[in-house]
Amino acid sequence: MRKVFITGMGSISSLGLTVEEQLKKLRSGQSGIGKVNHFQSVYSESLPFAEINASDEELKAITGFAEKGITRTTLIAIKAFQEAIADSRLTPAQISHTRTAFISSSTVGGMCYTDALYTDANNKGEISEFYSSYEGSNHTLQIVKQFKLKGYTDTINTACSSSANAILLGARLIQSGRADRAIVGGADCLAKFTVNGFNSLRILNEQPCKPFDEHREGLTLGEGAAYLVLEAENVIENKPLYAEVKGFGNANDAFHPSATSDDARGPLKAMRDALSTAGLQPSAIDYINAHGTGTVNNDETESFAFMELFGTAIPAFSSTKGYTGHTLAAAGALEAIISVLSIQNNEIYPNLNFSTPIAGRGLIPVTNLKQGVEIKNVLSNSFGFGGNGTSLIISKVD
């Protein structure tokens, strides 16, 4: 099977508008979580969020796309997409090639302006400019149109594991020979819909999230978009190979619509499948970028899964959601990029806001920037509602 390499990356999050900006914050330990400037909600004052530091108008100026009806989800997706294709030095011909696939993902999609949707869906009042942008895949369609994509296109929504599955599918398309190149990732912006949804389930923390801490009280919502350019080994000409997508596992917990099982059967299966497709033993993992949302349920289960899989030799791990918040569909790709940065720079970015290990688990994540550590293989986890869970293994190029 053909090897699949990462040759380009683009992302936008509360840490910055480019990968470079985000790397600086990851190193300096500065979180992107705080008070919002743009997102309007009853909870704007009372809850912390990880907001991208740019208004819709600013994003239109930055991306050069200002069409009527364009949503924030699409704008941040375009911003990260532009960075990824430029970073990989793809030519317009390569981008429009029928053997270049584009697989995106989103959960809130085009429904980011709750009040406009309310008016249009209920036939109340004037038609909003967004009336044709509400579909979950609208941002994909806009990118396909604007960048003249002619290859395979797809949009995935497996909740919080969405863009991890986009990476998995892109890798499989390339391995199978159906595509030579795949641009994969996802985008989600802050929206009343998701804020109130997670709030109705009582899993939003009133303080910035504290992944893997005994006193964690829930997640912090963030927004972001992230895309990676994956290429088959035989079509890459003289460009730097950032890392290899070596393994992946997708499994369903089949336990509860919005909670993970106590015995972590789904997460464990996803991690084991990822190791087996990569042909690696657990001991080969140097770092885990954990899902680590900061909810009572997830971190307990994920810790249990680490103990089951790695025994007493649990690799260095951290959740970077203390920096970026939970960016939902974008999280898998955003964290895959962070994993690549770890590999490239021989460093591990810390798990912020941790002080006390979870009782009965005792696991301690990396809490300070670690430098000068060789990272060959990273395990990156993404678990979500509907029992969906995906683990990726991203490796240093031999």
Binding site: L117, E135, T158
Partner: protein, 351 residues
């Protein structure tokens, strides 16, 4: 990839034997609603109470297949919009109660992956699980995903693949703003011959058991192809190319099952392809049965397989096709093609 079994909840009596015996249900209300079975026979009341229409149709069509094919490993669903009714109900709560205390059930139901998640939960399927939401290509995407999963397995493997779409007042309103539906009153019986703008809104859940094993299969998904925003003259040569990649000429196709929707603005896509590549074949259509919705190509595949089984589908009397090309598009934006071939085995009815 091979298909072993099929099931559908649709605006026709597909849950019983009537549809394959030539029955045709007429819908005159403008919205072509699915005829839903009594779910309490399949779904425990304690679970059914929380399910929105998309989820319960998906479970109703998919769970019997999971029960009959215990080797099914995972679930892959295509749905453009998922549980939209719950989605907008939750949204209405947000606005009406000014982001106050809101009920979570609508939120949990509104996520498009709720169907695949519930099928995995109720069928205890821990294998590969994914949900594609790519508009009118979502089902095509689910099929290809399944094919990739099956190819990656060196052992015999079965998956449940399907599509679900529901009509709610809300998406009907939004799609009406986008001028997707006819403004005049028309029955589904007369839909395809209409030439005015728009179509009739349909819905349904269609499920397939697919496998990498030919044994026990009734049909083969030979290949599929998609293109977005094509130029008017771009599709014909691409389809000739697609067929030749599969070592077929246009003459090898013996039935065209196209998504003509009686929409005067977009039916030319189908008609042009027929004229240019298949001048000796008539277009057969499926949307008079199921209405127009983004993942209707799943229903087309269901109907194609029933035709291969020589069932008497209304208006298809005497047809015994073995190689069928399914073509569906929505708004001229995303175009999907699925090539199906009959296998000798006769199908057991699954209900």
């Amino acid at each position: 990839m091979y298909i072993k079994a099929i099931s559908a909840i649709s605006p026709q009596l597909t849950y019983g034997d009537e549809y394959v015996q030539g029955d045709f249900q007429i819908h005159t209300k403008g919205i072509i609603n699915a005829i839903e079975p009594n779910y309490l026979a399949i779904i425990p009341a304690s679970l059914l109470r929380r399910m929105g229409k998309a989820v319960r149709m998906g479970i109703g069509a998919g769970l019997p297949l999971i029960k009959n094919y215990p080797a099914i490993d995972g679930v892959i669903i295509g749905t453009a919009n998922g549980g939209l009714e719950d989605c907008i109900r939750f949204l209405n709560q947000i606005v009406d109660y000014e982001e106050g205390v809101l009920t979570p059930t609508n939120f949990v139901n509104s996520t498009p992956n709720a169907v695949a998640g519930q099928l995995a939960l109720m069928g205890e399927k821990m294998g590969y699980n994914s949900t594609h939401t790519n508009g009118s290509l979502a089902f095509d995407n689910a099929l290809l995903d399944a094919k990739l999963v099956l190819e990656s397995s060196d052992k015999p493997m079965e998956l449940l693949v399907g599509a679900v779409e529901e009509i709610s007042d809300y998406n009907y309103n939004i799609d009406t703003l986008n001028k997707h539906y006819k403004t005049e009153s028309i029955s589904n019986e007369d839909l395809i011959s209409s030439t005015t703008d728009g179509s009739l809104c349909g819905e349904g859940a269609t499920m397939f058991v697919v496998s990498n094993e030919k044994e026990g299969a009734i049909a083969e998904v030979v290949d599929q192809f998609q293109i977005c925003f094509p130029e008017n003259d771009e599709i014909a040569p691409l389809i000739v190319d697609f067929l030749s990649k599969n070592k077929l000429t246009p003459q090898a196709i013996d039935l065209l099952l196209f998504g003509n929707a009686g929409d005067g603005r977009t039916d030319f896509w189908y008609n042009n392809l027929q004229k240019e590549v298949f001048p000796n074949l008539a277009i057969h259509t499926f949307k008079q049965f199921c209405g127009d919705y983004r993942t209707a190509s799943a229903f087309a595949c269901y109907q194609a397989i029933q035709l291969m089984q020589k069932h008497s589908i209304h208006g298809f009397e005497g047809q015994q096709p073995t190689t069928i090309l399914v073509y569906n598009q929505f708004s001229g934006e995303r175009h999907g093609f699925i090539l199906l071939r009959k296998l000798p085995l006769a199908m057991k009815m699954e209900h």
